[in-house]
């Protein structure tokens, strides 16, 4: 039993699924469009809630998939299904026959420019959470030079009909608090504000992180969404928000504003997804067959989904799904 399983996407979900499938004696083949495995998580510095270095996790995962057949810088350009399974054509002109397909295509980061009022790409000192994470990794970002006041805006591109994303992106709250603490670690004298609508500390140890953020790091959490950003004469940012708990609008000057950008469905897979006949749900993510019992299966026999391609997910969620999709595939092959 050496059936091929085509895994599209070499991020956390793809790698973990491949690892498990290989252990089950199947032959996973990863097709990754970028030049390296690891996905978004490989770009991350530390993980919430315990500030665990992301590299540790990624390296372990990479090590597990070192013998898995992998196509980098490659995309699936065509895929057909017949009685013998799936026949995919890759951008490197290779052809792959597989018994099942796992879509682990993950997510895209919301384009912050779309929230024009925040002035991303227009005001120098507005940056995204992803760029801040880069700063933590490299220690370099011309926007950050010993800031005295830093603000975080939650739900940028999430819970917002104006950008047609009504869903909660799940991980941004915790990420914001994690990054707020990290900023305080780098600049202890800086004042750090987070502007939140609700703080959704959904996981184990997350609420503790919240408490730590308030008590040990003296981060000021303001309930209220930043509504407009402008630049003053010295290029500092002037922001307006309402402190909804106090019932009054606020105005303050910041040195840096960090936008907690939401997860959006990775659209680069849409064409293939259509060929496979996998629909999207109302949030624009992939539609799995059942929210509870069929979270890894789709309307299409033999096509499976795992990770953030179906909804915003944290790393533990994703790994959990990757493992469960492996079981699903295994059972499908041996049905």
């Amino acid at each position: 039993m050496k059936e091929n399983i085509l895994i599209i996407g070499g991020g956390a979900a793809g790698m973990e699924a491949a690892t498990q499938l290989q252990k089950m004696g199947l032959t996973p083949i990863i097709v990754e469009k970028s030049e390296a495995l690891g996905g978004h998580i490989a770009q991350w510095d530390r993980l919430f809630p315990a500030f665990h270095p992301a590299k540790d996790v990624v390296d372990k995962m990479l090590d597990q998939v070192k013998d898995v057949k992998t196509h980098l810088n490659t995309e699936v350009i065509d895929i057909q299904k017949d009685n013998n399974g799936f026949h995919a054509v890759l951008s490197n002109n290779e052809k792959i026959d597989a018994k099942a397909v796992v879509l682990a295509t993950g997510f895209d980061i919301f384009k912050a420019e779309r929230k024009q009022e925040y002035g991303y790409g227009i005001y120098n000192n507005v940056m995204t959470s992803v760029e801040l994470e880069q700063f933590f990794r490299t220690g370099k970002d011309e926007r950050i030079n010993n800031p005295k006041k830093i603000g975080f805006v939650h739900c940028v591109g999430a819970r917002d009909v104006k950008v047609c994303n009504t869903y909660c992106s799940k991980v941004c709250c915790t990420t914001a608090l994690k990054q707020a603490c990290e900023i305080k670690e780098v600049f202890p004298d800086a004042e750090v504000y987070t502007f939140y609508m609700d703080l959704r500390m959904f996981g184990p140890g997350y609420e503790d992180l919240y408490l730590k953020t308030q008590k040990d790091f003296d981060v000021k959490c303001v309930r209220g969404r930043v509504c407009e950003v402008s630049e003053d004469m010295d290029g500092k940012l002037v922001i307006k928000a309402e402190d909804t708990l106090f019932g009054k609008p606020l105005k303050m000057t910041l040195d840096v504003l960090v936008l907690m950008c939401a997860m959006e469905k990775n659209k680069s897979i849409d064409a293939i997804q259509q060929k496979l006949g996998v629909a999207n749900n109302s949030d624009g993510f992939m539609q799995n067959s059942d929210m509870y019992l069929g979270m890894n299966s789709t309307a299409q026999d033999g096509v499976f989904v795992a990770g953030a391609c179906t909804a915003p997910k944290s790393l533990p969620d994703t790994i959990g799904e990757a493992r469960s999709v492996a079981t699903q595939v295994y059972n499908y092959i041996n049905r």
Partner: protein, 356 residues
């Protein structure tokens, strides 16, 4: 400030406007506050740019003011608008250009509403027929007069006599651009440059050699806001809005303010006088205010029209310092002369803000 960022947005918010043959409707506020502006506009587009702008003698208000101060229902306003469209249709035009921002907003709102609720459009057709036996056709293109100047800004630049440059220093004039809220804040896609970083006025200023300043309260409303102004007790609220804007732009030392809504220049001009009377504070240099002009007036100035023909003397804030900066020659004696040199007499001078 990253200019490329703005340019990207400006590129995203463009609308195509036909090159000629427009049906022009006036603005209640503009023709009563700045009568010269519309005259100048028509003179520029017709005689300087040789475009066909048709005015129908029977056109009326759009009903916007009544509508926004809740004295008529939306259907009434829509019927009035339908009649305007009918006039355009009868006159054989399909490009509708209005001089008023309130109207522009209301026309846009109406067309969008009809688009979403065709049954309402049908209802209005019926109303129009019942009331004045007319039938209308929706305009193919709807534009605001400032869109026209924006579209022809480079042609105007070609005929420019006095660019927006300080002749003494040779530096570009610092200009505050202020769009009317109803230009694009309701329907960003309907205005050049959208709502956050509107380009319609920026385009003119830059084409004519000026430099636009971006100050924190640029989004703030001029303070008109209908209800806030019409009820005397609420005027303090209107004034406070304006005050907030001036406090925010003051440090940038702007030379003038350009606007595309007829109401904004009025409030940005008159409230400077009131603030000065109440607090003694003026925002221009040595006791003067900051001139708040309509885009037609600015266009007229750069094209070399006589300031007094442009009606700049009806501004509360003295215009002379700006004229001197731009090197425009003017005859102080003519400032208060009416047609055929009739002396209208010089108005009383305010306490705190210089008017000459």
């Amino acid at each position: 400030m990253i200019v490329e960022g703005k340019q990207k947005i400006w590129a995203d918010y463009q609308k195509d406007i036909p090159d000629d043959h427009y049906f022009y409707v006036r603005s209640c506020i503009r023709q009563s506050f700045w009568p010269a502006s519309e005259v100048t506009f028509l003179d520029i587009v017709r005689n300087k740019l040789g475009k066909d702008f048709y005015e129908n003698a029977y056109h009326t208000t759009c009903g916007g003011i009544a509508y926004h101060s809740d004295s008529i229902p939306q259907e009434t306003a829509m019927t009035i608008i339908a009649r305007q469209f009918a006039l355009m249709h009868e006159s054989g035009y399909e490009n509708y250009v209005c001089s008023c921002i309130t109207s522009f907003g209301l026309y846009t709102e109406t067309l969008e509403t009809w688009h979403e609720f065709p049954e309402l459009e049908a209802k209005i057709r019926q109303y129009l027929w019942d009331s004045c036996k007319k039938e209308f056709a929706k305009p193919k293109y709807l534009a605001h007069a400032s869109d026209m100047i924006y579209k022809f800004r480079f042609d105007i630049a070609k005929q420019m006599k006095f660019p927006l440059v300080n002749v003494k220093t040779g530096k570009p004039l610092k200009v505050v651009e202020h769009i009317g809220c109803h230009y694009s804040k309701m329907f960003p896609s309907k205005g050049f440059g959208g709502a956050e970083y509107p380009h319609v006025l920026v385009g003119m200023v830059e084409a004519w050699g000026g430099e636009v300043i971006d100050y924190p309260e640029r989004r703030q409303c001029c303070g008109f806001g209908f209800r806030q102004y019409f009820v005397q007790a609420n005027r303090g609220y209107s004034e406070s809005n304006t005050h907030k804007k001036f406090e925010s732009m003051e440090p940038y030392e702007p030379d003038l303010i350009i606007t595309n809504c007829p109401g904004c220049p009025y409030f940005l001009d008159r409230w400077q006088y009131v603030i000065a009377e109440q607090t003694g504070k003026t925002y221009g240099k040595n006791g003067y205010g900051i001139p708040a002009l309509t885009y037609e007036e600015v266009a007229g100035l750069v094209m070399g029209y006589d300031p007094w023909d442009l009606g700049l003397q009806v501004h509360q804030v003295a215009i002379e310092p700006l004229l001197e900066k731009m090197g425009i020659h003017y005859d102080p004696k003519k400032k208060y002369q009416g047609v055929n040199g009739k002396d209208l007499g010089m108005p009383q001078c305010p306490m705190h803000i210089k008017s000459v």
